[in-house]
Symmetry: C2
């Protein structure tokens, strides 16, 4: 397999009530990424998106976004793996370069979710569930995560307030991220006062519905060398994905995300690294319980111990394993098909030393984990700075 | 790039009013392909699908189908490029093997379109168009193709009845395909009597709305050699894709499918072949006009001459360039996300000498062309028998 490098990245601010169309949002992020990469033309575009057919009457985003960005003619297509669609598009782009088919491709994750009524959006999100077993019976992603969080509290005799530290950390880091949806601090009092959306999930345990787009340019070593390189050399040291049952009723253990365990294991094996080598971890904190299970599944904590990492102050920018360093899904926002690419853009900013006020000191190796559904698809990437 | 081979294939009959769910349909086609490949386990699954979110409240088909087929845990995701989704999934699977990431993967294209009302299905199909410019103004894929067909008739002073030969050929070949939706002969009288759906398109110019699933197993040379090989060795000599503007208002020339021209050119270059080397061509006859433009775009006829290939008897099983050899989209059926994979399964049956009554004599090299929208995404593959 050929090595694959990140040559540049771009993002638009996560917002609500975005005026632009999906193709405009995507083209803006993509153009920023192309500029960041030195203005090189790419040979293919892989879009990550989940909801545009249902919420915007628009499939076929690959060709649309390529054209809107001035790239008419190149290969383009869309990858979908529910909320893991962004990192799924990254998997495709990675293989396109690793295979030798192309030397420069772009990956662009995007979602527009706030222009329809809330019921329609919630219902569309539930198509990530096992519909006949879950969505059709009224389950939403809030209610499914509530079942999982409840079981965590029960089995581990945990106090619900311990989850607050994940949301507080995310909001803290978002304060200095101009692309974050929320730039307001959160404390334990505010968390405790927030309404219970579905017990035991409070409003501040959940990520927001929002709009956004982010993009990356990937290159082979040859293409990277030929370009006037404005950024440090960042290699994709691992790219991995694994699945589990989509319905939570059919899981071996509700608290063990097999997809996270398997894809992390594959990623560490590919990179020749372990959890101790990771300087920061952009995980999928769509709900605080998912942050906990991702930390445990990836091996940063034993089962039942992930919750305490936050309470022990280990997840901050100067902690043992910094997470949600630009605000995470919770505070930067979770435009679902865009999220996996936002995570990768942020991880790239960190390991290339461009994270500004959000910089994790001496970050050289970053891991990302993007989750589809309640853990049915988990995609793990490791980025490594090489100079 | 590593060579990629087709190790086995499976399909379920194209039908209307399918009782099974999408995951069951996909799992059945996938299981058939795995059995055909010698029962080997695959490491990843790439699903092609366009409409399941809108028509079945179900996204996230990758993980669902993998689980339903007994493959829980493997990597899985969905590729979408409108009606080109099936071949887009094939592109992903191809890169997964070519890159060296995996040695055995599956590709499964599927669609279920007949369980909802016709208006809803037509509207969902229109999400393949440039929605704000086309679908939102009432355009359907029938009306968009009618515009293109009208221009062809006008510019080339052609008689509309010449299009009948494409539909008649498709129905003739479907008579001996047990997986085809339509197994009834068509003649010029019946064609002329058929209602005009939207002028100049008659009912028999258009492919049907239907349900279906088809699958392929792809392997590296190493994996193929390790397996007890029940089939001739068939290599993917080319895999290519290109795009054009999604909206037809924005095309350079309404009758020149730039996506077909570019992706065919890339495919021929990759394979080191030209149109004269192709023994059969599974093209995208969603409408008879698309068959004509695909023949012209791929280089089998000069612009304005594709229409006459059928009239001259050149597209039959023993013609110069056999097309729709198992009935094509017109008569085998067009379950949109499944179509690209059905085409590849049929091309594989042909070059491996397993096409039975539909066999093109001495077929060794086959080309497929799968089209998204009215030509905005075109994916071209060439299969070559190597022994």
């Amino acid at each position: 397999m050929r090595d694959v490098f990140i040559a540049g990245a771009g993002q638009i601010p996560v917002t609500k009530n975005q005026d632009e169309s999906l193709r405009q949002m995507g083209a803006r992020a993509l153009t920023a990424a192309l500029t960041s990469a030195g203005g090189e033309r790419v040979e293919a575009l892989f879009v990550g998106n989940m909801l545009s057919g249902m919420l915007s009457h628009q499939q076929h985003l690959g060709a649309l976004v390529a054209d809107a960005a001035g790239l008419r003619g190149i290969e383009a297509a869309t990858a979908e793996a529910a909320c893991g669609s962004g990192a799924a598009a990254m998997r495709w782009g990675y293989m396109a370069i690793a295979s030798g088919q192309y030397d420069a491709v772009a990956v662009c994750g995007m979602e527009k979710m706030t222009h329809t009524d809330r019921y329609e959006t919630t219902r569309a999100l539930a198509t990530a569930s096992d519909w006949p077993q879950e969505g059709a019976h009224g389950h939403s992603f809030v209610s499914l995560n509530a079942v999982i969080m409840q079981e965590y509290l029960r089995r581990h005799l945990a106090n619900r307030s311990l989850f607050a530290a994940f949301a507080i950390n995310a909001h803290q880091n978002a304060l200095t991220n101009p692309n974050a949806l929320f730039q307001k601090p959160l404390d334990i009092a505010l968390y405790e006062q927030s309404p219970i959306v579905q017990a035991p999930i409070r409003l501040f345990d959940a990520s927001p519905i929002c709009d956004g787009a982010a993009a990356l340019v990937l290159m082979s070593a040859e293409a990277l060398a030929a370009r006037a390189a404005p950024h440090p050399r960042v290699r994709i040291a691992a790219s991995a994905s694994a699945t589990d049952s989509v319905g939570i009723h059919d899981r071996h253990d509700l608290l063990q995300l097999q997809g996270a365990i398997l894809s992390s294991r594959k990623a560490f094996a590919q990179a020749g690294l372990g959890p101790g080598d990771i300087d920061l971890f952009e995980l999928h904190d769509a709900f605080t319980i998912m942050a906990v299970l991702s930390l445990e599944g990836a091996g940063f904590a034993e089962p039942g111990k992930g919750l305490w990492l936050a309470a022990d102050g280990e997840i901050g920018l100067d902690g043992k394993i910094p997470i949600s360093t630009f605000g995470g899904l919770k505070a930067r926002g979770h435009p679902v098909g865009g999220t996996g690419v936002y995570q990768l853009v942020e991880a790239w900013l960190q390991v290339s030393g461009q994270a500004g006020a959000n910089q994790v000191p001496n970050a050289r190796v970053a891991m990302t984990q993007n989750v589809g559904g309640t853990g049915a698809t988990v995609l793990t990437h490791i980025l490594s700075r090489e100079e």
